[in-house]
């Protein structure tokens, strides 16, 4: 996979990080503004996809990245599950109980475990979508050869 | 009741245990099986001392502690385990035990090395146990379970490593299984109407259509097991490919016993037949006799020939039982036991021949009478018995049936009015039987001996002994029919009855003469045809193999008559085979349906949505 023209590359260098940050913003403010884990995660994936699109496979070792992202995905969703299961051991012993204090509505750190859920879902979704993209991209490379 | 344990469960458990042992110790397994069969036979004899009664058997629940899981299960099972010991079942049980014993002795030598049937002895024992169970049980559900398992063992007692025998096995189990399924329907209907599964409590008038359906369903089961027209077609195939001991054991003896037992049960105990059903049964009986024997006439393979006869003789029993009179029932039952005797004898002799020669076709055999004298004699006796030659047992039972028919003709009714037809056709069937057994005996034991058959020796004692015993019993049953067998064995079942013409010599004489004459006549027709095709003999010419006529050609003439040839052609295309017809229909329909599955996704989607809107339309209209 070849990269794109220099204009795109340079702008990507600037923008991709901002995009990633925006994704994090969406995720961490999931309980305050629309979005949340899913949308933010997809934006995270989008920023990586942008990198791959712009720079091509020369710069990025796609195969390695795919493995890495799928591992990250597994771990993230496992962490999500663990968060849910933790509720069985902490406090009220109920599955998927929001066991952290709720805090003040509207604050960044509030809503108990919801932000944590959001973060893990975000990581999971980002890794998942990026993995899907990479799987297709690698497949494409292999076809072309 | 200790006897029942030994009769039903001992062989069963022994069979299951034996099947766990490897195949290498086959002979030891055989001996164990022999011992167990002997015990069973002994207890079935002992059963005769028991008076008629219905008992609830306690199944092994004593082995488990009160209140445990298995104990509970067995307690529940005990509700079903109702056994009915009456004279009929005692009689049949005895017969089962006897045949089991005889045939297992034969098998010890027959099955030992040459035949590769896995787990022959375990299945043999299981069959024994379940047969006895099916006969003795009083609960229809338990009965159908035992009955169904017998189909399975039938399937397992045939070898299956070539095209033909595997098809035969397949066909057998399909037909038997189908009949079992239909029987379930009948049992269901009985349960719906009467709310019980207990046979001894039932007395069902066949007045409502649904009860007639129930009767017909049960009738199908018994017909298939016994092998009566039109469900007989598995028998010739099975006997052709199965080892002779299996054939002798199941289709020839045990299945007959069971089928006719059940037929007797439903005809006499459970249902009271209306006249149309009687008519139907008589018709089927006669058709069985004639069609099967006609088919038997043209067979080349002697085991297949015996198979067709096994069908044909069922006709007499159906005829007898269909009459419904005590005389008829007695004749049917008597014929059943006689048939089991001589037919298993014939199969055993056929097995001996096959074991020694390895040939299965009549035209490849001949002249074995000197080499195998005992086999020959016993086969001859059995053949004469099956043809109804007095004073052998076949004659005795057929005679009772004829009497029953004549007696039956005195009553008013549709079936009764036609008594002369039934009688005539039954006699004709007997004649044709004789004719075809002439072919059997001649083909194997008489005639010129072929070169490759030199040096054939008599089979071992284990094999000829059972055969001889059976032949002996054939004679014994025939001679002692009116004095011992009928009064002691049959009368208790059917009740006292009077022969309308006991040993009426004129009638007997004329009938025997007619049948023998007819047999000879047909024999001649075949021979005349043959003589014509024979090359003229020129002096000094060396007699060659090719010029010798074969027994197969005996009845070729029959085939050439216009009407017969037409029917035979159809028969050879298997148009009369209910199995083949349904197979063709099923596969045709199946082909149509599978053509609709084109593999294109669009069509599948269309089906789905069509189904959806059809449901919407129907539901909207319904509400």
């Amino acid at each position: 996979m070849k990269g794109m023209s220099i204009i795109v590359k340079k702008v990507t260098q600037l923008v991709s990080g901002l995009m990633f940050l925006y994704g994090i913003y969406i995720i961490t403010h999931g309980h305050l503004t629309p979005g949340g884990g899913f949308a933010g995660g997809a934006i995270l994936a989008g920023s990586f996809i942008l990198l791959v699109l712009a720079f091509g496979s020369d710069l990025l070792k796609l195969k390695k990245r795919e493995e890495g992202s799928s591992v990250v995905e597994s771990l993230a969703i496992f962490a999500f599950l663990i968060l849910g299961v933790m509720a069985l051991f902490i406090g009220t012993h109920v599955f998927f109980k929001n066991y952290l204090p709720a805090g003040t509505v509207g604050n960044l750190i509030s809503a108990g475990v919801i932000p944590l859920y959001n973060i893990f879902v975000g990581i999971e979704v980002g890794a998942a979508l990026f993995t899907i993209f990479l799987a297709l991209a690698i497949f494409k490379e292999e076809v072309l050869e | 009741m200790n006897e029942l344990y030994y009769i039903i469960f001992l062989p069963l458990i022994a069979g299951i245990v034996l099947s766990a042992f490897p195949e290498r110790i086959k002979i030891i397994k055989g001996i164990i099986a022999l011992i167990i069969t002997g015990i069973t036979f002994f207890f079935s004899l002992k059963l005769f001392s028991v008076s008629e009664k219905i008992i609830n058997l306690d199944l092994f629940s004593a082995f488990f502690n009160e209140g445990t899981f298995l104990n509970n299960i067995l307690q529940e099972a005990n509700r079903f385990s109702r056994f009915n010991i009456d004279n009929l079942s005692k009689f049949i049980t005895l017969a089962i035990g006897f045949f089991g014993l005889v045939i297992i002795v034969y098998s010890l030598s027959y099955i030992s090395k040459t035949r590769q049937i896995k787990n022959y002895y375990p299945y043999f024992l299981i069959t024994l146990g379940f047969s006895a169970g099916a006969v003795l049980t009083d609960n229809l559900l338990l009965f159908i379970i035992f009955w169904g398992i017998l189909g399975l063992t039938l399937y397992k007692l045939i070898k299956g490593y070539d095209e033909e025998s595997s098809s035969a096995a397949k066909k057998t189990l399909i037909l038997i299984g189908a009949s079992d399924g239909i029987m379930i329907l009948g049992i269901g209907i009985i349960w719906k109407v009467y709310g019980t599964f207990t046979m001894s409590e039932l007395s069902i008038p066949t007045t409502y259509p649904i009860l007639v359906v129930a009767f017909l369903a049960l009738l199908t089961g018994s017909f298939t097991k016994a092998g009566a027209f039109p469900f007989h077609t598995w028998i010739p195939d099975y006997t052709k490919s199965a080892p002779a001991s299996s054939s002798a054991y199941l289709p020839a003896s045990l299945d007959k016993l069971l089928g006719i037992y059940f037929l007797a049960r439903i005809c006499t105990d459970m249902f009271t037949l209306n006249q149309w059903l009687t008519f139907l049964m008589l018709l089927l009986g006669v058709m069985t006799i004639i069609f099967a024997v006609m088919m038997a006439l043209i067979q080349h393979n002697y085991k297949r020939l015996l198979g067709y006869h096994a069908v044909s003789q069922v006709g007499y029993m159906v005829l007898g039982l269909g009459l419904g009179t005590p005389l008829g029932v007695a004749g049917g039952l008597f014929h059943m036991i006689n048939h089991a005797l001589y037919k298993s004898g014939l199969f055993l002799s056929a097995g001996s021949v096959e074991k020694r020669t390895g040939k299965e076709n009549l035209d490849e055999l001949g002249g074995l009478s000197k080499n195998m004298p005992v086999t020959f004699i016993s086969a001859l006796i059995c053949a004469l018995a099956i043809s109804g030659v007095p004073p052998l047992n076949g004659f005795a039972s057929k005679w009772i049936i004829y009497q029953g028919i004549i007696d039956f003709g005195k009553e008013p009714g549709i079936a009764n009015q036609l008594w002369i037809i039934w009688l005539g056709l039954a006699v004709l069937g007997s004649a044709l039987t004789l004719a075809s057994f002439v072919k059997y005996i001649t083909g194997i034991f008489l005639g010129r001996k072929r070169k490759e058959l030199e040096g054939i020796k008599e089979v071992s004692i284990l094999m000829w002994m059972p055969n001889a015993i059976i032949a002996f019993l054939c004679i014994g049953f025939g001679v002692l029919a009116s004095t011992f067998v009928v009064p002691k064995l049959i009368m208790p079942i059917t009740g006292e009855f009077a022969y309308i013409g006991i040993w009426d010599s004129t009638t007997i004489g004329i009938l025997i003469l007619v049948s023998i004459l007819l047999g000879i006549l047909i024999y001649l027709i075949g021979n005349i045809k043959n003589f014509r095709t024979e090359d003229s003999f020129i002096g000094g010419e060396i007699f060659r193999e090719e010029t010798s006529y074969s027994v197969v050609e005996f009845y070729k003439g029959i085939r050439d008559y216009k009407l017969f040839s037409f029917i035979y052609n159809w028969a050879e295309k298997k148009w009369f085979d209910i199995y083949e017809i349904s197979k063709k229909l099923t596969l045709g329909f199946s082909g149509l349906l599978s053509k609709a599955h084109t593999g294109v996704l669009t069509f599948y989607a269309i089906w789905i949505l069509t189904g959806l809107i059809l449901m919407i339309i129907i539901l909207t209209l319904m509400s």
């Binding site: 069985l88 | 509970n72 169904g148 299956g160 095209e163 399909i174 329907l185 349960w191 089906w607």
Partner: protein
């Protein structure tokens, strides 16, 4: 108890999440852990089945108590039916996992296989346990999406094609189900099955609305259960998947996502109506008859078996549908109970014997490399264990005593006759006969006959774990016959039947 119920979902899913990570490092982890987890779950489910009273047990996820009597949390509902289905799922799953150990070694990407298997089982457990409509949809999707991938596991032409068709049709089904749930939510403003049933009962409902919703739901779940006009994906998918997956698909998946859902919704949620139960019976009859006719003409072993799943599902549906119709007509309760019992009994039986048959087919394919009946023969010499187990399963499916299939069919037929459905009884018998015929064909051409394979090939028995699964299932084939006895039935199936019979008890047990 409370913790144990959640384990059914947590354990398989957690395993699935861990396998891609740890399985990369430790070879053999995936196999061992999957089999162990499934075995543990099956033991647990049996334990729950035996030791827990038949009363309905609810568990509120997140601990949200009802507000003003309206349930707001997602409920786990553990009643007789769920427990029964749990046993089926985990038992068959355990055997399939054991069987996979040698079988899947031929394929690449073992980790993914085991992960997907765990996901499928976890999803199905979720479907069975949940008491919430939308949650049911979500877990159903987990199960079916995992199955889509598993069908295509050996990425060859046929597998992919089958999986694609399966996905498209399954996608349509999912959409229909979601639409139906939406329609329900529109009217009732609730998602809890018990709550919805309460509202549907207590309000005047437009007939056309009910028809529309019910038809969408029937079509959706019927598609997953492969009832007749919706069955087309089934033979392709089931025949193309690897053998243990076919076992899971045919033995469990179509039952859980199809039959279980239909049963749950139409017995416990909607009011039982004559029309709907008639429709369900008609669907069952059509699939029963057509499925078997299609099966008997097949030469591909697994395709033959797949069409039989179709047909046997018809039996189950008929059993349940008759019970429903009798209940709707206010007929005799014992007959309805018998009929439902027959349906459920046949369900578990079918899971066992059809699973076993697919495992046998897999073993044959494993050794001979072909699925075409015309190309094999005489295998009973070389593969005695496969032969004897498959004979048992064949006889069980065709209803030959003493195998379990006989008893369930017997009960269905008896119930049909008792409930005046003579035609159904007749058709059931007919189908049973043709089933027998087609399985005799299978037996004849694969195990008997002359050996047809090239002589150079040495065929012997399959590895230990495959044998183990097959033998265990064969023993179950015989052992499940014991369910006919009331003493056993009371423990295992009667709670499930009770749930379906007392349609109102579900509501009352959950809301109180």
């Amino acid at each position: 108890m409370s913790t144990l119920v959640t384990l059914f979902v947590i354990l398989p899913l957690a395993t699935a999440f861990l396998i891609p990570v740890i399985g990369r490092v430790i070879n053999g982890f995936q196999r061992t852990i999957t089999a162990l987890i499934f075995l543990f779950l099956s033991i647990l489910s049996v334990y729950i089945l035996i030791n827990v009273n038949p009363h309905i047990y609810t568990y509120k996820i997140g601990g949200w108590e009802p507000v003003n009597g309206i349930p707001i949390a997602i409920y786990f509902v553990l009643d007789g039916l769920s427990t029964f289905m749990l046993v089926v799922i985990n038992l068959i799953g355990a055997f399939a996992a054991l069987y996979s150990i040698p079988y899947i070694k031929r394929f690449t990407a073992e980790n993914n296989y085991y992960a997907l298997l765990c996901l499928m089982v976890g999803g199905m457990n979720g479907v069975v346990l949940t008491g919430d409509l939308f949650n049911l949809y979500v877990f159903l999707e987990i199960a079916v999406i995992a199955s889509y991938a598993l069908v295509a596991f050996g990425v060859e032409r046929e597998e992919l094609e089958a999986s694609f068709k399966y996905q498209i049709l399954g996608g349509i089904a999912s959409i229909l189900i979601l639409f139906g749930i939406g329609m329900l939510y529109w009217n009732t403003k609730s998602l809890n099955i018990a709550d919805v049933s309460d509202i549907l009962k207590n309000t005047e409902n437009n007939k056309a609305y009910l028809v529309f919703t019910q038809v969408f739901l029937i079509t959706g779940f019927g598609l997953k259960a492969a009832l007749f006009p919706f069955h087309a994906w089934l033979p392709d998918a089931h025949s193309s998947a690897p053998a243990p997956v076919s076992t899971m698909l045919s033995g469990v998946l179509i039952k859980v996502v199809g039959i279980y859902s239909i049963t749950r919704l139409f017995f416990n949620m909607f009011e039982i109506s004559v029309e709907v139960s008639t429709i369900i019976i008609v669907l069952g009859v059509i699939s029963m008859v057509f499925g078997v006719f299609l099966a008997v003409g097949q030469w591909d072993i697994k395709r033959l078996l797949a069409y039989h799943s179709n047909s046997q599902m018809g039996y189950v549906i008929i059993g349940l549908g008759m019970g429903m119709l009798i209940l709707a007509n206010n007929g005799s309760k014992p007959v309805a109970a018998l009929s439902i019992f027959g349906g459920l009994f046949h369900l578990i039986n079918h899971a066992v014997f059809k699973g076993l048959l697919f495992l046998n087919a897999g073993a044959i394919e494993f050794k001979t490399g072909t699925r075409n009946l015309k190309e094999m023969g005489g295998l009973s010499e070389s593969m005695p264990l496969t032969y004897s187990t498959s004979l048992g399963a064949s006889l069980a499916i065709s209803g030959i005593p003493p195998f379990n299939g006989f008893f369930s069919k017997l009960i269905i037929i008896l119930a049909a006759i008792k409930g005046h459905f003579y035609l159904l009884a007749f058709l059931a018998v007919l189908v049973s006969i043709i089933t027998l015929a087609s399985f005799m064909k299978f037996q004849k051409f694969s195990f008997f006959n002359k050996a047809n394979l090239s002589p150079g090939r040495k065929i012997n028995e399959v590895p230990f774990f495959m044998c183990f699964s097959m033998v265990a299932l064969a023993i179950l084939c015989l052992g499940l016959s014991l369910l006919i006895f009331p003493g056993v039935r009371e423990i295992i199936i009667d709670p499930a039947v009770d749930v379906l019979m007392n349609t109102g008890s579900y509501f009352s047990a959950i809301m109180e």
